[in-house]
């Protein structure tokens, strides 16, 4: 079972639908976590949402508790939430991407996707990862073709994955394949 933690976003249920194609999904508001469901889950997903990771201390707590014990996936804010817990700074960017389709490029450090492959993806983010960033076992595996901003990471030791873009958006082509790959990793 996949447990989706909703940060009151208007895209969370697109995420739920997309993951439902592969497994049972339970989705709860971040402030109303069902601990027994959370414990039963094999995978935890941190949803997109407004604001920044520091606004969601409860989600940070859950991440730290289950890191290494369950597969963890973060999307948009969720991506930032995980990196924030790993010591990253999440900062405002000069150009803002809301409802924007752009191309991302897979680099050498990806274990799941072929190096050099490009994906068209949908983006909805005001904030971004401040670089340089380094954390043990974490690799930035996709970047925006134009700006170079970090678009995905993999931690294949602890099975933690994240996308800054929205694989569930209609603007992301082949989003289903991206999710299938990380779920079967």
């Amino acid at each position: 079972m996949i447990y989706v933690i909703d940060h009151k976003d208007s895209f969370t249920h697109n995420v739920v639908h997309q993951f439902s194609l592969f497994d049972n999904v339970v989705c709860d508001d971040f402030s109303k976590i069902n601990n027994s469901k959370l414990n039963q889950a094999s995978t935890i997903v941190f949803s997109p949402g407004p604001g920044s990771p520091k606004d969601y201390p409860l989600s940070s707590k859950i991440y730290k508790k289950f890191k290494g014990k369950k597969k963890i996936i973060g999307i948009c804010l969720g991506f930032q939430q995980i990196l924030f817990c790993e010591g990253a700074s999440i900062i405002e960017q000069s150009k803002i991407y809301h409802g924007f389709q752009s191309e991302v490029l897979v680099n050498k450090s990806s274990k799941l996707f072929n190096t050099g492959r490009k994906f068209k993806v949908g983006r909805y983010h005001s904030l971004k990862l401040k670089e340089p960033f380094a954390a043990e076992n974490f690799d930035i595996t996709m970047r925006c073709v134009i700006s170079g901003a970090a678009m995905s990471f993999e931690n294949n030791i602890d099975k933690i994955y994240g996308f800054q873009f929205h694989p569930e958006s209609f603007l992301t082509l082949n989003g289903k394949i991206l999710i299938k790959k990380i779920l079967s990793a």
Binding site: S10, F11, V16, H17, S20, L21, I96, G99, G122, S126
Partner: protein, 387 residues
């Protein structure tokens, strides 16, 4: 077919009635046997009401009316702070006993006297609008909202004949979700173009509009389409609404059934072009109408995104109650089918005051003066009726 002077006759009886656009013309509902004024408490009971199963329903077996903005906020747990209010009902539904089909060309001879003031007062001037605008832009930078609609209100004191206004409005601006309500102490006239919910059995659809273009000479549908496609700001705004509406349908639909049937197409109306998408889905078993309404309302395209945090930002900013504006009008049939629009481009007349609310979106690359004027353009079609 109906005699030509039908509208004159019904208007002179002082009966309450409702007119709602259909594909071919209009339906007029009247002889109301029940009128329910909704509040935050009785709305739950109203929405959960079950009607006896029949193999054949009459075409008046329905409740028709509207949910105001405040009622819909409360239904999804978003609280409004204390606002200036004219104490207009939060929502009203009627049970009609008569339904009459009318042709698209409404014929009505005005014979009552109207007291019309041409001048309107706006509640927010450009200076205060710009201030709010810049505040919200900061909120976009910090990620609290991705798109937010600032509402401005035009008001004046007039005593009007709503049927005359509605007939003239349908001639100047025939919209697919147009409606009017005439009741004893208030009336609503609307040329809403936007369908929020069409539910037939397990099938449900929504048709968000984001992007409006005024018609000019030498412009056609194809040119309008390429205008929208090449306009990055319009495209981004529209994309956001499409993903949000997919999300809202996903809450109540079977996984995998939510489809984007028409992606970013142009619809042509008398004076303007709209940039429209159509999203459909198949409802999960045992989905109740109250679940559908909570998932879909208030309609996202007129609020902004993400819905909850944007509603909170808006509500803390707005000093005046929105009343009907960005609520929904439509009907719930006794067999469970529904049709609801989003109440925009509308006039509310209550206690001899007319109010017209309009809103336009703030995204990261919008411009305060442009959006302020955009609001006026949207209001103008309605203000122009006051002459």
């Amino acid at each position: 077919m109906i005699r030509e002077n039908y509208l004159n006759r019904i208007n002179s009886t002082n009966k309450s009635f409702i007119i709602y656009k259909t594909i071919k013309g209009f339906d007029l509902f009247t002889d109301f046997s029940k009128k329910i004024t909704l509040n935050n408490k009785n709305i739950i009971k109203f929405l959960n009401q079950k009607h006896k199963f029949k193999t054949k329903y009459k075409d008046t077996d329905l409740m028709i009316g509207f949910f105001g903005y405040e009622l819909l906020n409360n239904l999804i747990g978003v609280k409004l702070p204390k606002q200036k209010s004219i104490n207009f009902p939060k929502g009203i539904f009627y049970k009609p006993e008569t339904k009459i089909s009318l042709k698209e060309d409404l014929i009505y001879q005005l014979n009552s006297s109207q007291k019309i003031d041409k001048k309107f007062k706006i509640n927010i001037d450009l200076k205060s609008y710009t201030k709010i605008f810049n505040k919200f832009k900061k909120k976009i930078r910090s990620g609290e909202t991705y798109q937010i609609k600032i509402c401005t209100k035009y008001k004046n004191r007039s005593s009007i004949d709503p049927l005359d206004f509605f007939c003239r409005l349908t001639k100047s601006n025939l919209a697919p979700e147009a409606f009017m309500i005439k009741d004893k102490n208030f009336s609503i006239i609307s040329c809403s173009p936007e369908n929020l919910i069409t539910k037939n059995g397990f099938k449900i659809s929504t048709k968000p509009i984001a992007g409006t273009l005024r018609k000019t000479k030498n412009f056609n549908k194809n040119k309008a389409l390429s205008f929208f496609r090449n306009n990055i700001k319009e495209t981004k705004e529209h994309n956001m609404i499409v993903d949000m509406e997919r999300n809202d349908l996903s809450r109540i639909c079977k996984p995998g059934s939510v489809k984007l049937n028409k992606e970013k197409t142009v619809e042509e109306y008398k004076d303007l072009y709209h940039y429209v998408s159509l999203i459909t889905g198949k409802l999960k078993k045992n989905t109740k109408n109250i679940d559908i309404i909570k998932a879909m309302m208030p309609g996202g395209s007129v609020i902004g995104c993400p819905k909850i945090s944007t509603l909170n930002l808006l509500n803390n900013q707005e000093k005046e109650n929105r009343n009907i504006y960005t609520g929904s009008f439509g009907f719930i049939k006794f067999n469970g089918d529904m049709r609801f629009n989003i109440i925009i481009r509308s006039i509310l007349n209550y206690k001899s005051i007319s109010e017209i609310s309009v809103a336009s979106g703030v995204v990261i690359d919008s411009n305060a003066k442009h959006e302020f004027n955009e609001n006026f353009i949207k209001a103008k079609a309605l203000i122009d009726l006051y002459k």
